[in-house]
Symmetry: C2
Subunit: 337 residues, 2 copies
């Protein structure tokens, strides 16, 4: 039987693959042969994807654009990482125009059959069956922490979700143990893991002198098309923390440069503190979000206000000019200085 | 006779055209029909371009990629805006692999003939003739300032190159006259002109209370492929001002993300002050330089040191990671803190 079930796991090999496929979303076929040779015997004719998070959306869109008939089963309606209700809705609508996403529908049964992967599911009250060449489950993954049997050190470590890890030092209680990166995190992101790992080694070598690690401003990117990004405090963070903020909004549907590029889709939001006028966070669903996300993340880490940001140069014609529109929109909602 | 000579002038109409064509360098044909209808009766079969500055390179490369047989005559070997000898050489070599650039060769005669634009020139000692459908001269332009007859106000204004304009206020001597933007500048860039214009109006309305305008960190972008950018103090500025600096260099030929995109060309340089460790400037000849240029310009305007910059998040896998490589290369050349 040549039908297999791929489980989304970040081995270094398929992490690399993810990046290659994701960057292929732009439509380039450079790595098509590489995927074909290294990972799959051939590109499948059809693929079912379970999940609508980062990996699911990136790979589903890439495979779809490579000509694979792709069907996505999603537990909720949420796509990718955006927490802004506005941008979520926009992203759901936009991605649905291209991809076959079954929102709030999960497979009931999955079986390997002679014909392929047989998936049964319920949609609009009807029992349906889908047969695809492959199934990709991209519904998160388990930390290997459980294999370490930490509970043998201390009974308090039985529930891995409640491990007492210091968020500043990543030290496990008073033990000479540091837990960093994807082993235990809400943000499984490579550059944060690398940063934490470096600090943990420093702390391990200087033990018991343990320094706090300098935390990075949050920066998450989804290599979909358009790209998504969350920078600094997300819309949800701000709401959960009852922070008083205004939202500077800009649609990219008529943004000058986006129009010229033929990539005039999506929108951006920038969140500004009502009192301090500091830029607190941003969410993007636009072309080249990865670049604008760095600009915003660095600006946020420098604690810039909306007024500071508006004194910066915005070259014409660029996508960055859209951020200026959003910053001005935010400023108009604040009290005049 | 349908042969005409186009002179590069920034009317608002052909400024827009420049941007559209320049962004087309990526290979998109979206605006092909627009150019055809609005500006030229048809895309020519052949085009000669005089000049190798911003406009010349952007348009020549765009036309070449649209299938127009394009020949560039350049007074010097300099292409675009890069002042770093290293990056200039790289850009010359790279652009020459694609474009027919005759360095240090200018037309001796140009004539409209029945067959087309007849251009004679000397190359390697031989007298040669080229016939093209069109000729584009992109060798700079004259300011309309000369039409104002400023010398009637004050004899000191006869030589427009030596006009006593205050660089901080843009005021002409003690007169209630402000000269901004492309009317008199070494950097004819839209966002700087807009910025200066706004301040000049403020000063005109509040005259004789004249405020200094907040100068923007220099930021120039060439929409070639790869793109060029100069940010902050250029290599040449730093040399001319005898500033002691180190150069952080990174080649993008093996940069991870650039490789995956199939855009692994060019290089970047970041200039760091030897004493203060501040990032002073940068020159780029890489894919998406326009975005990285904003990041660098904003960082420079915040007076960040190389050490500050290296504490910022660099998402993986992105082109921004290349800048980190350059920053680290610069830091290795400085004294340890």
């Amino acid at each position: 039987m040549r039908k297999i079930i791929i489980k989304s796991q970040f081995t270094s090999k398929n992490y690399e693959l993810r990046n290659k496929i994701a960057t292929m979303v732009a439509g380039k076929n450079t790595y098509r042969s590489e995927i074909k040779n290294k990972i799959l015997p051939d590109l499948p004719k059809s693929l079912a994807v379970i999940g609508s998070g980062v990996i699911a959306i990136e790979l589903a869109q890439a495979m779809h654009r490579l000509g694979v008939k792709t069907t996505i089963f999603a537990r909720s309606r949420k796509v990718g990482t955006l927490t802004s209700p506005n941008l979520q809705l926009l992203a759901q609508k936009e991605l649905q125009t291209e991809l076959d996403i079954k929102f709030e529908v999960l497979p009931k049964t999955v079986a390997n059959t002679q014909a392929g992967v047989e998936i049964t599911y319920e949609e609009n009250g009807a029992e349906l069956t889908l047969i695809t060449d492959y199934l990709l489950t991209a519904t998160g993954r388990d930390s290997n922490l459980q294999n370490l049997k930490l509970e043998n050190i201390n009974k308090a470590f039985t529930d891995l979700k409640k491990l007492p890890v210091d968020p500043q030092t990543k030290q496990l209680m008073h033990y000479p143990i540091f837990i960093v990166g994807d082993a235990k995190t809400a943000t499984p992101i490579q550059h944060e893991a690398a940063h934490e790992g470096k600090f943990a080694i420093h702390n391990a070598l200087n033990y018991p002198k343990v320094k706090s690690l300098k935390t990075l401003p949050p920066l998450g990117i989804v290599f979909s098309s358009p790209e998504m990004a969350t920078i600094g405090q997300s819309f949800k963070d701000l709401k959960n923390n009852n922070i008083e903020f205004v939202t500077g909004f800009v649609s990219y549907e008529k943004q000058g440069r986006a129009l010229v590029l033929g990539k005039n889709k999506g929108a951006a939001e920038i969140y500004v503190d009502k009192m301090s006028r500091k830029v607190l966070g941003s969410e993007l669903f636009i072309e080249s979000a990865e670049h604008l996300a760095h600009l915003l993340a660095w600006m946020i880490s420098e604690q810039l206000t909306v007024d500071d940001a508006l004194t910066k140069p915005f070259y014409h014609p660029t996508l960055e000019e859209g951020l200026r529109t959003a910053l001005k929109h935010a400023r108009r909602q604040l009290n005049p200085i």
